[in-house]
Subunit: 391 residues, 2 copies
């Protein structure tokens, strides 16, 4: 989850998930300060975790940077491995249709026709198609259109990857899906209904011509209260852009070529376009070309901002579990569950920043330092924070 911000759709999902699984405990894996689509979070991760806990989730853990700012396969694989380590038995994700069978069918077929699909994706990419389109066409071709799942929709892509990741782990976890309600993921124009996408809500928040209170109908009260408390610290890419620009202005092209996920000479495109652009939006518009998705460019911008190099992110392969679990918060039920789990947990549970020893955790720390510095000029916060505990 990203909870950026936590809205009524998230609450609906949580309630439906409870009904569907009869779960007595809920664990959420949440991205840290930088998100899957290559954007910084609106508000710090501690506030987002607190909101989730107060909305009824029992344990919130942080998805490491190495999985969070990544395509769906890696994002889902990391998250599932951490949920498994926490003893989770059921995973619920949102989808357009709310039916699990097409996901299971698609996952099974991809396992069978994987090589054919890979070849077709490569062919479509060479023909200049974007990855989502190339993938959807390749999958459709392989199944001859019989699968009943549009894999070009972001939520379906992610759901499919959850199911694939679960299957890789020998099905010890059961997958469920819940139909998303209200406006679609890409919709930017919230109606008067109480459901608006996170994208639409961020648009309201950063629109100088709209009062902040316009988000109120679309988010639970607790979310509104906490967002309101942090009103002066809410950030989008534009708050980070001066630092990205400074970095691109001062870095050598060879340094940029070393940034994780930098390929095909994008370091030159980035450097060439930085001087003439004054906003992040202008910058991405300037570097955008048909062969790169906006998300790919935004993720590269996040890695560049954080100066994450290729050598910092190595050693991942599908199915390889996350190497640690960073705990952000829990309620008393969550605390009891973790205490019981702790002895047999397959990953170290990190409860304070200074205890994290894995090199990937250093990336989480660096990303949090930068976000805290930009959001609140307090780059030391990460060292002072303890997991949130609520009754």
């Amino acid at each position: 989850m990203e909870y950026n911000p936590f809205h009524n759709g998230h609450l609906h999902h949580l309630q439906e998930a409870g009904k569907k699984t009869g779960a007595d405990l809920t664990v959420a894996v949440m991205s840290g300060p930088f998100l899957q689509r290559g954007e910084p979070a609106l508000v710090d991760k501690w506030t987002r975790a607190e909101t989730a806990l107060k909305a009824g989730i029992d344990v919130v853990i942080e998805l490491p940077y190495v999985f969070a700012v990544q395509p769906a396969d890696r994002f889902a694989d990391g998250a599932v491995s951490m949920l498994e380590a926490c003893g989770v038995t059921d995973i619920c994700f949102g989808s357009e249709n709310g039916e699990i069978k097409p996901f299971q069918d698609a996952a099974e077929s991809i396992e069978q026709h994987g090589q054919q699909i890979d070849q077709q994706v490569t062919a479509h990419l060479s023909a200049g198609k974007s990855f989502p389109r190339a993938y959807n066409e390749a999958v459709t071709e392989a199944f001859q259109g019989s699968i009943g799942l549009d894999t070009s929709k972001p939520n379906n892509i992610l759901g499919l990857e959850y199911v694939k990741a679960i299957r890789r782990r020998k099905n010890v976890i059961q997958a469920h899906t819940i139909k998303r309600i209200g406006s679609s993921f890409h919709d930017q124009d919230p109606s008067s209904a109480a459901i608006a996408s996170a994208t639409a809500l961020r648009k309201i928040i950063f629109d100088k011509h709209q009062p902040f209170t316009n988000v109120r109908p679309y988010v639970p009260d607790i979310s509104f209260q906490l967002l309101h408390q942090k009103k002066e610290n809410l950030t989008d890419w534009e708050a980070y852009f001066p630092f990205l620009k400074y970095n691109l202005m001062t870095a050598e092209t060879e340094e940029l070529a070393n940034i994780y996920d930098c390929s095909e000479g994008l370091e030159h495109r980035f450097k060439k376009n930085i001087h003439q652009t004054k906003t992040f939006r202008q910058f991405i518009d300037a570097v955008k070309a048909k062969r790169y998705t906006r998300t790919k460019l935004q993720r590269l911008a996040v890695h560049t901002l954080n100066r994450v190099n290729k050598s910092d992110i190595t050693g991942w392969s599908p199915g390889k579990p996350a190497p640690y679990i960073r705990l952000l918060g829990m309620n008393t039920a969550g605390q009891a569950h973790l205490s019981a789990m702790k002895k047999t947990m397959s990953m170290p549970l990190i409860t304070k920043a200074s205890a994290g020893k894995h090199p990937w955790f250093d990336l989480d720390l660096k990303a949090s330092h930068i976000a805290d510095f930009v959001q609140s000029s307090d780059s030391l916060k990460e060292y002072q924070k303890k997991p949130i505990i609520i009754d």
Copy 2:
């Protein structure tokens, strides 16, 4: 010169220099956006050049970064080589006493006792003394106190280096000195007299409790007008500090160790102290130790901000001339002089940024881009600027 800002003391110096030399033309070599003591200039170099021209100087050229953000020997050596290339016959510098003979005597004796002085400086530095103090004691010891020049005073240090640089060039240029008037260089409390140091004036400008007009008595009218026009863009280190902090937060220690002039593990001191400091002043106070002068640390901070590596500044030795001259502005007399000189000039005269091909010029450009970005969010300015021409 640094003209940071151009004040009545500069005007006095200019007038006295005219009387002393009978010069029909004046050339000023001025630092670009970053200054000798490791500070950013208050206002952009074009505004400072324009002020100097309107105050009566005929030609203003830019001292390259490679010479400007350096100890006095290198600063003076670069400046003298450029003045020589411009056909200058007399150089005037300010000093505490206004007598040239002690400078000539000191320079001659240093040539004779150089090795002994170097050894003594090393010994004093090992004993934990700061460089200015070590140098002054070593020089005093070599001359047995008879020289009549306090070489721990910044202006005397610089004057001595001008004289040494001129002697290295076989005395084709004649050295003069003019007694500085009013408060001393380090004084930070301007009296009611019309003379105040540049340091004192910057203190007024960045003091929120003083009106900007308080600087008016101490600067020529034209200087006040131009400063006033740029009122919203005047910057000290604090405006640059967020970028220095971001850089120190994201750079690896090994990258910092590669920064020009980084030695004795200062990369660790810089990195260790950055999180807990919220202002540049706090930062320098935190890293300061007896063995490092504040100026040395500030210069390292400038190189870190500009990401200038050791490999970017190589190949200088005393007496080696600057490789190019960047023209910032001229009046018609200056223009006539340069036209006449141009054919025989020993260095290329750069009149637009895109024409500069030397790797050192790339550093000038990068430094200007950063300063323009921080001062006016316009990092492209340097490519658009042509030399200022006034009647």
